[in-house]
Assembly symmetry: C2
Homo-oligomer: 206 residues x 2
């Protein structure tokens, strides 16, 4: 057994990479999942899309749950079955990434496995937040910016999103790739995603 | 040793509850932390606010990190030191909760400990999202609502936020308390928070 085999479980089984992101909301989510998986396969990884069926079948107790709760448990099980996670952090209906995606990033981080992020916005988080709060956000007497309700705007140099997100990715050994993609293509362009997958493959396949 | 002592570590040490939320951004965050801790103390719990110093001192390796990354690691250490987490899920600069708060909720959920949530908005997530995307969101031919970029609006009955959030809270044994608090008070009113803390105390102190 080679060292690379040992790192990804042996027998040539590709390491599994969970594909977190609002990609499940695009007009053709199954095709998007297939496109993301194809990129992973080119780098020797098995992409796991949130809409995938669970390999090991549902827990019978889940069937009594409302659909939304079944989906939540399935996604948690998918994450736990993967060796790493890549999150689409492109800003979603506000200055930050999609809430479900951020939840999943925190979940995988707590499992102690590497987390990666990509975003098709290169504007720093502080600038995005100011723009989102405009025209009501303004600097207070002490120089910190506050929104219309008086809540401070987080402003640390170089952050792509809330510091828990950037911090977790760096601490886990992952990378965060941002690209300036114009709005019409920001939910289609996969260049930043592929850069992330390549980095994940280097880490997981050695 | 009584059964209650055993459940919270014995010797009368109160169970620790991590206080996730954008409360760190209010104009007087130290006073807010003290107010939240006082509620916890009334229910026999020790509230841990994100801005608290770490009891066991910083890891020396952290000192070389940028401040934002040190804060992220400190918060992760605080969460790991607690028996449960209560998240302020009041919508924050968009239809969903604060991204840092949601990350922390996912982190604690993956540790297998109970997570609780409170929100001072009682409007369901689907209605909040439609309002946030107005006037550009509209129902497509198949009846699903899509935003201006064609991304679907999540619409499951009874969800207070993204399904990963509601799902995790329910699956962990926690509760999600929502109250309709008018905008001027929504970052001050602690009634929903106290209801959450009381539920956490019942679970943790038996």
């Amino acid at each position: 057994m080679t060292r690379a085999d040992m790192k990804h479980g042996g027998m040539g089984i590709p390491p599994r990479l969970y594909l977190a992101g609002p990609d499940v909301f695009v007009p053709a989510p199954a095709a998007r999942g297939a496109a993301l998986r194809a990129v992973c396969a080119r780098h020797g990884l098995a992409g796991v899309f949130p809409l995938d069926e669970l390999d090991d079948g549902d827990d019978p107790a889940w069937h009594a749950l409302p659909e939304a709760h079944r989906i939540a448990r399935r996604n948690e099980a998918h994450i736990a079955s993967c060796q790493a996670l890549v999150a689409n952090l492109t800003p979603f209906r506000g200055p930050s990434a999609d809430a479900g995606t951020v939840f999943e990033l925190g979940y995988m981080r707590a499992l102690g496995r590497p987390v990666f992020g990509w975003s098709n916005s290169a504007l720093p988080f502080a600038a995005r937040t100011r723009a989102a709060c405009a025209p009501h956000a303004a600097p207070a007497a002490d120089g910190t910016w506050r929104d219309a309700e008086g809540l401070m705007l987080e402003d640390f140099p170089g952050m792509a999103d809330n510091l828990m997100i950037d911090g977790a990715i760096a601490a886990s050994g992952g990378v965060l790739v941002v690209r300036d993609v114009p709005a019409p293509s920001r939910w289609q362009d996969l260049a930043a995603f592929e850069a992330c997958v390549a980095a994940a493959a280097r880490l997981l396949r050695g």
